[in-house]
């Protein structure tokens, strides 16, 4: 009984290590393939559009909703201490440092990472990836690289958009509903922030973009077993990248916010 349990634990650990190794190898191959020829500009533009432009509505809506509800909470909380003036500063701090990067990262993992996993998974089970190999085309170079580059560029840009929209979401509540001065809000929003905070937000966006693209492509590329495999790929891609986004958020904050 004990041997069996230990065997199972051992098998699970070995399985997890094998998966981590596989992900590391594929990631390494992707970074190495970035500078390989031929450069596929059309595919890259398509990915910029799919990852970046098409995500604008969802990022605007989520950023607006989160910043607005956070402003409601802050206004209510600070009113208890007659410190309503602090609300805009804390709103700015929370949005730039945490809310915008993490919310954008999680939303993109759901919208874009899952789409990548589903697309590559379908290509895998319908032998399209084998067809690429047979046409002397490296699937890592052809499929992973444009998605990685687009993810690494577009997620930070969308994070910046999230911050901008977050500013207006907070303003809508604190100025429009709570009646604070627009000038005080605008001054207060940036009061507790420095350039470093924006830099960290962009580093987070970049890291999350890389995680989303690599995990999405990896899960799709390794899909097997027909419809069930293709169905599992997006789910596991979203769960894995969301977890890694939260874990990396902690480490980036801890390491850079000193």
């Amino acid at each position: 009984m004990l041997t069996k349990t230990l065997e199972n634990i051992g098998a699970k650990v070995m399985g997890a290590l094998a998966q981590a190794g596989d992900f590391a190898v594929l990631s390494g191959r992707t970074f190495r393939a970035i500078f390989k020829k031929p450069f596929d500009g059309a595919s890259l533009l398509h990915q910029f559009n799919a990852i970046g432009v098409n995500s604008i509505p969802v990022i605007v809506l989520t950023s607006l909703a989160v910043s607005a509800v956070f402003a409601v909470q802050l206004a209510f909380g600070f009113r208890q201490f007659q410190a309503e003036g602090m609300a805009s500063g804390v709103e700015g701090l929370a949005i730039v440092r945490e809310l915008a990067p993490v919310i954008v990262g999680l939303m993109m993992a759901g919208r874009v990472g899952s789409a990548m996993a589903a697309e590559l998974g379908t290509m895998q089970v319908t032998e399209q990836i084998d067809a690429l190999e047979c046409l002397a085309t490296d699937p890592i170079h052809y499929l992973f690289v444009p998605r990685l580059i687009a993810g690494a560029i577009m997620v930070p840009l969308l994070t910046a958009l999230g911050i901008y929209v977050g500013f207006w979401g907070g303003r809508m509540i604190l100025v429009g509903v709570e009646g604070q001065s627009a000038f005080v809000y605008s001054e207060g929003f940036y009061q507790l922030l420095s350039a470093r905070d924006f830099r960290i937000a962009m580093i987070k966006g970049l890291t999350f973009g890389i995680i989303i693209a690599l995990v999405g492509c990896w899960r799709g590329y390794r899909a097997q077993g027909g419809a069930e495999g293709v169905g599992n790929a997006p789910t596991s891609s979203v769960v894995t990248s969301s977890l890694w986004i939260l874990v990396m958020d902690f480490f980036i904050t801890k390491l850079l916010l000193v």
Binding site: P38, M123, T126, E127, Q128, D130, A131, E133, C134, L135, A136, T137, D138
Partner: protein, 270 residues
């Protein structure tokens, strides 16, 4: 003369299931080899080993003298440019149009201009009898058309070797004949070396210079079509007859209805 494709003692297993066991096959330049065999006997695995999509457990496959599984990735891609692979279900890129599919390798591996690529795409589509389908999406094609676009894509780079993986499976008899003729035309016009995997005996005998039969992972015959017909091996004869009774199946087949009825009647009379 050194064979263009040399399969030497090739063995491949997936877990406990041995799919190929010690298979030896040689294909000479310009020769057309047809590989027959029941479903799940490892014919596709053989092609995937030739393409380097799978690594052999034992033995090797050499294409033009280069051992496939020992090649570096860049060298493997160089060799693959000389081989055109036609997949069982065509494996067309569904996000692309017909012309983008056919011109894919040309765009990536040649310095041809757009006009030259368009011309070559037209030429390839003409060879498979699909002129004026350039702008169609792959979802608008029938099964037979998809296979033929797959052929056109495979020949675009003017390969020396063509591999066909069950090109007629699932098609009606007329379309099966069309595909058989296209393979013959390609062979005559391009002079390629080819390996065709098929279940269709009619087109097999039309296409083949030699026919091989894979049975339970082993190659039990590899000879000219005439010799193959006369081969006394019970498995070969059963395969040619298309009869369920014989050594071909591992599990005994269900009884024929007439026999079953007779047996049932006898049982009642007793």
């Amino acid at each position: 003369m050194e064979p263009v494709i040399d399969v030497v003692n090739l063995s491949k297993a997936f877990g406990p299931k041995v799919v190929l066991s010690n298979v030896n096959l040689q294909v000479q330049e310009g020769e057309s080899l047809v590989v027959l065999g029941g479903s799940g006997t490892g014919k596709t695995v053989l092609l995937r080993n030739i393409m380097g999509l799978l690594t052999p457990d034992q033995g090797h496959v050499a294409v033009e003298g280069r051992i496939i599984h020992q090649l570096k990735r860049e060298e493997l891609f160089e060799t693959r440019q000389k081989i055109g692979m036609c997949f069982q279900m065509a494996a067309l890129f569904d996000s692309m149009s017909v012309e983008e599919n056919v011109g894919f390798a040309l765009t990536r591996h040649t310095t041809m201009t757009r006009a030259q690529i368009a011309e070559r795409v037209d030429e390839c589509l003409g060879l498979v009898g699909l002129k004026d389908t350039n702008k169609l999406r792959t979802s608008e094609l029938s099964g037979g058309m998809k296979r033929r676009v797959g052929f056109a894509r495979a020949i675009a780079l003017k390969p020396k070797i063509l591999l066909f993986d069950e090109p007629t499976t699932g098609l009606d008899p007329v379309m099966t004949d069309v595909i058989g003729r296209i393979i013959l035309d390609l062979k005559a016009e391009l002079g390629v070396t080819s390996i065709t995997i098929t279940h269709d005996l009619k087109s097999a005998f039309e296409i083949a210079d030699r026919i091989a039969l894979i049975f339970r992972g082993e190659c039990i015959a590899c000879e000219s079509p005439d010799d193959f017909r006369k081969n006394p091996h019970p498995v070969v004869q059963q395969f040619l007859r298309g009869d369920a009774d014989g050594p071909f199946l591992q599990d005994p087949p269900p009884p024929k209805r007439a026999l079953a009825r007779a047996h049932h009647k006898q049982h009642i009379n007793i």
